[in-house]
């Protein structure tokens, strides 16, 4: 599925020639795509949930349930681009801890909500820049770098906070994690939707998006095609850091406090979401639509099973099976058809 193959004839219309993400007609692609399979799974889970519990179909309950995935999904968008480009960032949850700790320090120094938000975003960007510089300037593998910074960033939080906590955030700060934009739609959910659109446009409709695919498929070829590979990767690390900063603002606001253990283990859930969304873990292909549906699938599964009071251990088994199942089924299907 090389995205750089160009066996399509140039079109008659003027303007830049379109290079397809995948090599089949749009109609069959839409039908056979990962996204439609996943959408089917999402709808099935939604219906099963609705049948299994009388409490599922309630606007406010569904609204509460979106908190299960909104923060993770925000990071997953940037992570998807990063993974498509052939890199990964495992330090995202630790960036949340560090950004949240920095916000706590600012809050103690008496700064108001705008400064707190700015702090969260700037710290996120700085962490992303640190990861990005180590990967692009020193040429280190991102998985090694970010496993290191995973301990480093959270370690700083532990040094600052120890077993203490920052509490007493200003009242208007609570809006980001607890407020509603209109009716049942929370600020986090609206932000998630807006970001989904932005990321979809960036990845699928801009030169930068094409460059991301190109870098992930063959970085050397991309470099010789005039794409500044290092710069693309640097921007993606910055984006991932920024999104982690945004998630830190939302999560801190939702919890109303900061502890160094905030968001522990979230990086794996983010990567799970991205892979479940059909992004190739080896880089080169994937879509934002897939990640969006995967976010809903994971949120619906955890909320639905939660309503039935299924123990969390069973829930993780279910998510694991879902991940393996959705990845294995298309391959099995191909093998069976060939046999």
């Amino acid at each position: 599925m090389s995205t750089l193959s160009t066996n399509h004839a140039p079109r008659d219309s003027a303007g830049p020639r379109k290079i397809p993400d995948q090599l089949s007609s749009p109609a069959t692609k839409a039908l056979k795509s990962w996204e439609s399979l996943l959408l089917l799974v999402a709808v099935a889970i939604f219906l099963m949930n609705a049948l299994a519990s009388p409490y599922f179909l309630d606007a406010w309950n569904l609204s509460d349930a979106t908190y299960n995935f909104t923060e993770k999904a925000m990071i997953a968008f940037a992570m998807a681009l990063l993974i498509i480009a052939g890199e990964i960032d495992l330090s995202v949850a630790s960036i949340i801890a560090l950004a949240s700790t920095a916000m706590g320090l600012m809050m103690q120094a008496g700064f108001g909500t705008p400064a707190l938000v700015a702090t969260g975003l700037v710290v996120g960007l700085l962490c992303g820049a640190f990861n990005g510089l180590l990967v692009t300037r020193l040429g280190l593998p991102s998985i090694v770098v970010t496993i290191g910074t995973m301990s480093l960033f959270r370690g700083i939080s532990y040094i600052v906070l120890g077993d203490g906590a920052f509490r007493g955030y200003p009242a208007d700060f609570a809006f980001f994690g607890q407020g509603y934009v209109f009716w049942v739609f929370t600020f986090e959910f609206v932000l998630f939707a807006v970001l989904a659109v932005i990321y979809a446009v960036v990845l699928h409709r801009t030169n930068f998006g094409r460059a991301v695919y190109a870098v992930g498929n063959n970085a050397t070829a991309a470099l010789f095609s005039g794409i500044r590979v290092g710069r693309v990767k640097m921007i993606l690390f910055l984006l991932t850091g920024l999104m982690s900063g945004i998630a830190a603002v939302c999560l801190t606001s939702r919890l109303g406090s900061t502890r160094p253990s905030i968001g522990t283990g979230m990086e794996l859930e983010v990567v799970t979401m991205v892979v479940l969304g059909g992004v190739n873990i080896l880089g080169g292909s994937g879509s934002i639509a897939g990640v969006v549906i995967a976010a809903f699938v994971m949120g619906l599964v955890t909320f639905g099973l939660g309503l039935l009071n299924v123990p969390g251990i069973v829930m993780s088994i279910f998510i694991g099976l879902l991940l393996i199942g959705v990845i294995a089924l298309p391959r099995l299907w191909k093998k069976l058809r060939r046999a």
Binding site: D58, V184, S261, L307
Partner: protein, 332 residues
């Protein structure tokens, strides 16, 4: 994306049409624990079931996240709010982070109490401590001191996580008691095993290597104490390093038999789950108002009185050693 947004909208609108039925007659009390699969909380569930049976009109929902995170407990609480349970009795992973979610629960008419590990006062109506922190702090150092010649020697603490509310308070109380009553005992170090068996084991090993003259490891956590006892056995230091602290009889029976641990303490988690359920029931029923100096009946355990922060202590910790371990190891 569009389709899904549409689906959510349809669902939301359908709700308006559907009457939300299924109103159970029994009172539903949710016992929310730090994480599932921990012996202590399984035992607490036994006690809750016992209380439910005794009360007759109560259903217990025993639930909790996979990992001991605040985020995981918030997801659980949100699903309980959605189910419109009558009461939530929670052992919190984080004192502060659960407050906004639990306040939402109370706003929607759910009785919220915490037990074992407390929620900040603004996030719950009352809190049930298994014992008083001061008594626990005194107890764990006494257990170590009683097995030291002339109450003199070197001890170290193996705790859970650096953010574990309970453990931190107990260690503080222990230090106070040391200053007052045990001037010849030296606390060499406090290390954290994060309530993970393998990490606790390595930390205990590290303690014995760093402090060759160590006389006792005090682990005020049921995971840490077992791991520490195992580390002492594996290092061949039985009889030299005594492991004590808080543990479960079923998990500690081997350590008592091998001599790695001479004695340890714990309150009875069955009693704790039982009492928390009783407390939640009486508050949810409206029998008592949760306010300072209110006396709340807790069935066969008698009654507790709330202090100025609406907290109450259930009972003193209980010591287990060679004489009674056989009897209790089958219970929890």
């Amino acid at each position: 994306m569009k389709k899904l947004a549409g689906l959510m909208m349809t669902a939301a609108m359908a709700t308006g049409l559907m009457a939300s039925g299924a109103q159970a007659d029994n009172m539903r009390i949710a016992l929310v624990v730090k994480a599932l699969g921990i012996g202590f909380f399984e035992a607490a569930n036994k006690g809750a079931q016992e209380a439910a049976k005794e009360l007759g009109d109560v259903d217990i929902i025993y639930t909790g996240p996979t990992d001991t995170t605040a985020e995981g407990q918030i997801e659980v609480i949100n699903s309980l709010i959605a189910q419109k349970v009558d009461a939530i009795a929670i052992s919190a992973n984080d004192t502060d982070a659960l407050v906004p979610t639990l306040q939402k629960a109370m706003k929607r008419g759910i009785t919220v109490i915490s037990w074992d590990s407390a929620v900040a006062p603004e996030g719950r109506m009352a809190h049930l401590n298994p014992s008083s922190n001061e008594l626990i702090g005194k107890m764990i150092i006494k257990l170590a001191a009683d097995n030291l010649p002339d109450q003199t020697g070197e001890v170290a603490v193996l705790s859970a996580t650096t953010t574990s509310t309970n453990q931190n308070i107990w260690i503080d109380e222990m230090k106070k008691a040391m200053k007052a009553d045990y001037p010849n005992i030296k606390l060499e170090a406090t290390v954290y095993g994060d309530d993970l068996a393998d990490k606790s084991y390595r930390e205990a090993q590290g303690l014995m290597q760093s402090y060759p003259d160590l006389d006792a490891i005090i682990a005020p956590t049921s995971v840490g104490i077992v791991a520490a006892a195992q580390a002492v056995v594996d290092a061949g230091k039985v009889g030299k390093v005594n492991v004590t602290g808080l543990g479960l009889p079923s998990e500690m029976a081997g350590a008592i038999e091998s001599g790695a641990s001479k004695s340890f303490a714990i309150w009875n988690p069955i009693d704790l789950g039982y009492s928390a359920t009783m407390m939640a029931y009486h508050i949810a029923k409206g029998d008592v108002k949760p306010q300072p100096e209110a006396e709340i009946p807790i069935g066969r355990m008698g009654s507790v009185t709330l202090d100025e922060t609406n907290s109450a202590a259930m009972a003193d910790p209980f010591v287990y050693d060679k004489s009674n371990i056989e009897q209790f190891k089958t219970i929890f």
